[in-house]
């Protein structure tokens, strides 16, 4: 007498069907493999800590206008508000503590630098992108290792 789950065969059949109907797309596999090329070699990670997109209530409270994000590295916090205007995206940022001087590079998903900005004395910066997409910020400060944020779709 078999002790196996009576549904095992059905599940195996279903697996075979789904493997054919909805396999992992080759372009996703290729992207995933190539993603290793994006690993940070010289920069500290500023991890995405908060995203109003994941907090429905917060988004509602703000009227759904902007999207608020917080990234944190060991010695730097980056708050960003993303405003959409048609295709264009404006990032209003705040570095804390404010560095004496910092350059913010917006790296696009294709590896290009989509935009750059300098922060002001208070650590604020503003960048406008022609279109949304997957980006990450790279913060260059004098006397400190570069900081890169997590990837983010805006």
């Amino acid at each position: 007498m078999s002790t196996s789950d009576p549904h095992d065969e059905l599940l195996a059949e279903l697996r075979s069907v789904i493997d054919r109907v909805d396999p992992v797309p080759p372009e996703v596999t290729e992207f995933a493999q190539a993603a290793l090329g994006w690993r940070r070699l010289d920069a500290d990670l500023a991890e995405l800590l908060a995203d109003s997109a994941l907090e429905a209530e917060a988004a509602l409270a703000r009227g759904g206008e902007g999207r608020w994000l917080t990234f944190r590295a060991d010695d730097l916090t980056i708050d960003v508000e993303v405003q959409a205007d048609g295709d264009a995206r404006t990032l209003l940022g705040q570095l804390a503590p404010p560095p004496a001087t910092a350059t913010i590079e917006v790296q696009a998903g294709d590896g290009d630098i989509a935009a750059t900005a300098e922060s002001d004395k208070l650590g604020r910066f503003r960048v406008t992108l022609a279109a949304g997409g997957r980006i990450r910020l790279r913060i260059l400060r004098e006397g400190a290792a570069p900081v890169e944020t997590s990837w983010l779709s805006v």
Partner: protein
């Protein structure tokens, strides 16, 4: 002095592991003179010259490897010494135009010395013994404990990782496959002759056109009072001078700043041995901090991972003739993670292969369209790349990926203003237009099963999709992917499969197509 392969020098080794390494000459540097009290130091230097200089053909063949590597076998993990931090590990900073064979070994050739012959001779030799055996065990040479026995020399202690680390830093694109074997001779990471043999063989198998050569030279001797003796110029200058290819000089494991041969020559003759790299040890699990036991100082040229490395240790036994397996169930994913974090594409691809079904199914289980699911899956993989150096417990990697994919789904759904999948069980939803999918299924029975699947509740579809996303789905991973309590998975699975069977059973095509 012997010029025979390890296999003839050591017993208890499975000779098979050396098969295929025909062109590699492996030398063991043996100093039998040290075994005898009062031995004339010139016997020793003659032996060294014989091994490294005269009689050693300098025209190294492509696969010629000299191993002469006595270093301490045991790592006493001494207290950290702060002086003179060693240069950090710099991956992919290739500057050398050569390929390198990785040779490592792990044999401590005589632990049983109990006589006390050698303190006086160490004075004569102007060296300090690497370690002393004491009645209480082995102590390192910086402990202020009088030695009760002689010089501890162990030939060929395991440091392939040092060589591998040097490659990572100095060789631009070393087409290297790391092999491993944790065989009868294993005594811990990097301590395995079969390991070295396998590594060696893998290099011979590689398609690299570049010459494959490296010299690994370490000695158990530390400098006496940090003085780099002229005595050691004789063998080293006559042997290392002119070699040209990389010489790996392990810094040693005493946690000491006291210079150690042959890297000590770097301090004595700055710039004269640019190919001789004193290599210190880093701990791969401690943010690449200097291993507490690693020697360090200006005489050390660079550092590499000396603890917990992919290159020399896998948590598995494998037959010597097999490649390390990177399949789903028997690969040492901690090592893969670390290798991927260092940029090892093959290791990364193995991780992708292992988990891509889970990531994809998680996205699809959240009712994302093909294009949106692809976007979420891509972001998820980028997240893992971001965190490669922060995830140390590979057993949780699947759960981490599933959680990350789910969160990316939620982010996507919220940003795009779609409602979340309903948690209400078994609510019926009219199937979408599946004509494309059905077109892929030639058999009537398969098409019927797909139609039945699409009639299931979202929750059931999501769970079943996860259950078939990989060979042995873990409930932890499924729980993370769907935010479903682990305890609910079994009963839900049963109920969903019963429903699926119910729908399928009433479909004539399902019955008609049955075998």
């Amino acid at each position: 002095m012997r010029a025979e392969p390890f296999t003839t020098l050591l017993t208890g080794i499975n000779n098979d592991v050396f098969s295929g390494i025909e062109d590699v000459e492996i030398w063991q540097l043996e100093l039998p003179a040290l075994r005898r009290e009062g031995q004339d130091i010139f016997d020793v230097t003659r032996a060294l010259r014989s091994a490294l200089g005269e009689g050693y053909e300098r025209t190294v063949s492509p696969n010629h490897v000299l191993v002469a590597a006595p270093v301490s076998d045991e790592c006493p993990h001494g207290s950290p010494i702060q002086a003179n931090a060693i240069p950090p590990f710099v991956p992919n900073a290739g500057v050398l135009n050569a390929a390198v064979a990785v040779i490592d070994s792990g044999y401590q050739w005589d632990k049983n010395w109990t006589a006390n012959p050698l303190d006086a001779m160490c004075q004569q030799l102007e060296v300090k013994p690497g370690m002393h055996p004491t009645p209480g065990g082995w102590v390192n040479d910086d402990d202020d404990v009088p030695s009760v026995a002689g010089v501890y020399l162990d030939a060929l202690s395991g440091h392939a990782n040092f060589v591998a680390g040097l490659i990572a830093q100095r060789i631009a694109q070393p087409n290297i496959t790391i092999w491993n074997h944790n065989g009868s001779f294993a005594a811990g990471p990097g301590h395995s002759l079969p390991t070295e043999a396998a590594v060696c063989r893998s290099l011979l198998d590689s398609q690299s056109n570049a010459l494959t050569k490296v010299t690994y030279v370490g000695f158990a001797f530390a400098t006496l009072d940090d003085h780099v003796s002229n005595l050691w110029d004789i063998p080293f200058k006559s042997s290392i001078d002119g070699i040209g290819h990389p010489v790996v000089a392990p810094a040693g494991n005493q946690g000491s700043a006291n210079k150690r041969y042959p890297a000590a020559l770097n301090a004595k003759y700055p710039g004269q041995y640019p190919n001789v790299f004193g290599v210190g040890s880093l701990d791969d699990t401690a943010g690449h901090a200097i291993s507490t036991f690693s020697n360090r100082g200006d005489w050390v040229a660079c550092s590499t991972v000396g603890e917990n490395v992919f290159s020399t240790f896998l948590d598995i036994d494998m037959p010597p003739e097999e490649e390390p397996t990177k399949g789903p169930h028997d690969f040492a994913s901690n090592e893969l993670m670390r290798a991927a974090a260092r940029g090892d594409q093959a290791a990364w691809n193995a991780i992708v292969e292992r988990f891509q079904g889970l990531v994809w199914a998680t996205a699809r289980a959240h009712r994302l369209s093909h294009a949106d699911a692809a976007d979420v899956a891509q972001t998820t993989w980028l997240r893992l790349v971001e965190h490669l150096d922060r995830i140390h417990d590979a057993e949780r990697l699947g759960g981490w990926l599933a959680t990350t994919a789910r969160r990316e789904c939620l982010r996507y759904i919220r940003l795009n203003g779609r409602e979340l999948p309903s948690d209400e069980a078994d609510t019926f939803e009219a199937p979408a237009d599946d004509s494309f999918e059905l077109g892929l299924l030639a058999k009537e029975r398969d098409a019927a099963l797909w139609r039945s699947f699409r009639k299931l509740s979202e929750r059931c579809q999501a769970l079943l999709r996860l259950l078939v996303s990989q060979d042995e789905p873990s409930y932890d991973e499924i729980s993370a992917a769907l935010d479903m309590p682990v305890g609910a998975i079994g009963p839900t699975r049963m109920r969903c499969l019963e429903k699926l069977r119910g729908f399928a059973t009433v479909d004539p095509a399902f019955q008609g197509g049955a075998a």
